[in-house]
């Protein structure tokens, strides 16, 4: 019955779309156009498009869900529940936010429900309460406000070459795990997933100021840990 449905997109077009989904355009207009195409493809029941977004985001959903639930297995379950919701409600999705934001918002709600059931729920808003002042850099490194023990550029200059080193990857994931959950959630969405500030606020249901404070602390903390790592290594 599907074959003779005039609304079903032709197969070659689906393939071209699926290919396009893997590409990340820097141009915002092109991205919006692409998002629109993808959305249309999903609404018209394009399976290739659905497979592509699953392959693209599944690991990312599991990674994010794992911040809130106890085990990897539960995080995987939460991600699967999210896909089931996405699969059955994609037709009702109205594109007021980006597709990825919408998916992450579903995930975030499911993870929250799951964490509540596990009895280890920490409300997102409580995560965001500004704590007592926590300096970005150890005050002992300044004298009268100026650098006494100044930072230096790390020896290898590009993130790519740094990341080729296994110990750097291990160090950064340990550093991420050491962060409090609120900071980790914000920095994961902002810097690992590439969401903008407004999107993060809508996914986590926190205020703009909270988002910025958490981001600042998280980035400062990660920089400190990376610097400590490079100083130890060199």
């Amino acid at each position: 019955m599907r074959e003779d449905d005039p609304r079903a997109p032709p197969a070659d077009l689906s393939a071209a779309r699926a290919e396009a989904i893997g590409l990340r355009s820097k141009d915002a207009a092109r991205r919006a156009a692409h998002e629109h195409t993808l959305h249309e493809a999903l609404r018209s029941g394009d399976e290739l498009a659905f497979r592509s977004i699953m392959r693209l985001y599944h690991g990312r959903l599991v990674r994010f869900a794992h911040l809130f639930v106890a085990s990897h297995a539960v995080a995987e379950e939460v991600a699967q529940e999210t896909w089931l919701v996405v699969a059955s409600t994609i037709a009702a999705f109205e594109a007021r936010s980006s597709l990825k934001t919408w998916i992450f918002r579903i995930l975030s709600n499911r993870a929250k429900t799951r964490a509540e059931r596990e009895g280890r729920f920490v409300p997102f808003s409580a995560l965001a309460q500004p704590l007592e002042h926590e300096p970005a850099v150890d005050p002992a490194r300044f004298r009268a406000g100026a650098w006494a023990d100044p930072p230096e550029r790390w020896e290898e200059n590009t993130p790519e070459t740094l990341l080729l080193r296994r110990e750097v990857r291990v160090a950064i994931s340990h550093a991420l795990e050491a962060l409090p959950v609120g900071q980790r959630a914000v920095v994961t969405l902002r810097d690992l997933e590439g969401f903008d500030a407004d999107e993060v606020c809508s996914i986590l249901q926190i205020s703009e100021t909270n988002q910025r404070v958490l981001l600042h602390r998280a980035r400062a903390g990660l920089r400190r840990m990376l610097e400590a790592h490079f100083r130890g290594v060199e």
Binding site: G59, H72, S88, F142, A146, W154
Partner: protein
């Protein structure tokens, strides 16, 4: 003039463009003459770039993918929206939930099971009455199903177009002959209560089911 220590605290506001123009100018001025703070800003930006390159370490298992795609496929069968009433959309969902093949197998096995039970227990006591009621409900469902299939064939042959609602009405008409057969075999007083309790309810279910299994899907063409 900003101190280096203050610089490290407002660097996120600077990067996020959440800073007044005056502060921004001060920030630039400081950077212009302070190589340490330039190095600090470089470290911050490098940290962010490294984070952006971290790939998740789990992939998507192929069995999970197939399961989700199956759900996507059944969910994205287009819901008729040209002139679709609330009833037809609801019916369509019901039909989707049943699944064409599995639904029929399920109904047939329920019918067979109930007939066997009814034969075993007979009309003895309240339990017997309940079983009897279930069997009649089930037989009405079976009858409605047959009517639905026949109607569908007929309409397909004559390329008619029927809405979900008119389909349901036709299915109800199709069920009625069964009632005459049943009514003739029962004493009148018993029949009134019996019909009210079991048949009116089962008639409604039968009509909806018939329409769900035949009408809504077929209207989409």
């Amino acid at each position: 003039m900003l101190s280096c220590q203050v610089m490290t605290e407002i660097v996120t506001d600077y990067v996020e463009s959440r800073i007044s123009l005056r502060r921004r100018l001060e920030f630039w001025l400081h950077l212009a003459h302070c190589s340490h703070c330039r190095a600090y800003l470089w470290q911050m930006r490098t940290t962010v770039k490294i984070l952006g390159k971290l790939q998740p370490d789990t992939g998507l298992a192929s069995d999970v993918e197939e399961r989700m795609v199956a759900r996507f496929r059944s969910a994205s069968e287009p819901v008729p929206n040209t002139g679709a009433t609330l009833t037809t959309r609801w019916l369509h969902r019901l039909q989707r939930g049943l699944g064409a093949g599995r639904g029929r197998v399920f109904i047939v096995s329920v019918l067979a099971g109930l007939t066997a039970m009814s034969a075993a227990i007979g009309h003895a006591g309240p339990l017997g009455d309940v079983v009897h009621g279930l069997v009649e409900t089930a037989s009405v469902l079976g009858f409605a199903l047959t009517t639905a299939v026949l109607l569908r064939r007929l309409a397909a042959a004559s390329s008619m177009r029927l809405s979900g609602t008119s389909y349901a009405s036709l299915a109800v008409l199709g069920v009625l002959p069964l009632y005459f057969v049943l009514l003739r075999r029962c004493p009148l007083c018993h029949v009134v209560a019996h019909v009210l309790v079991f048949h009116v309810a089962s008639l409604a279910i039968a009509a909806l089911l018939a329409a769900a299994l035949g009408g809504a899907r077929w209207q989409m063409r």
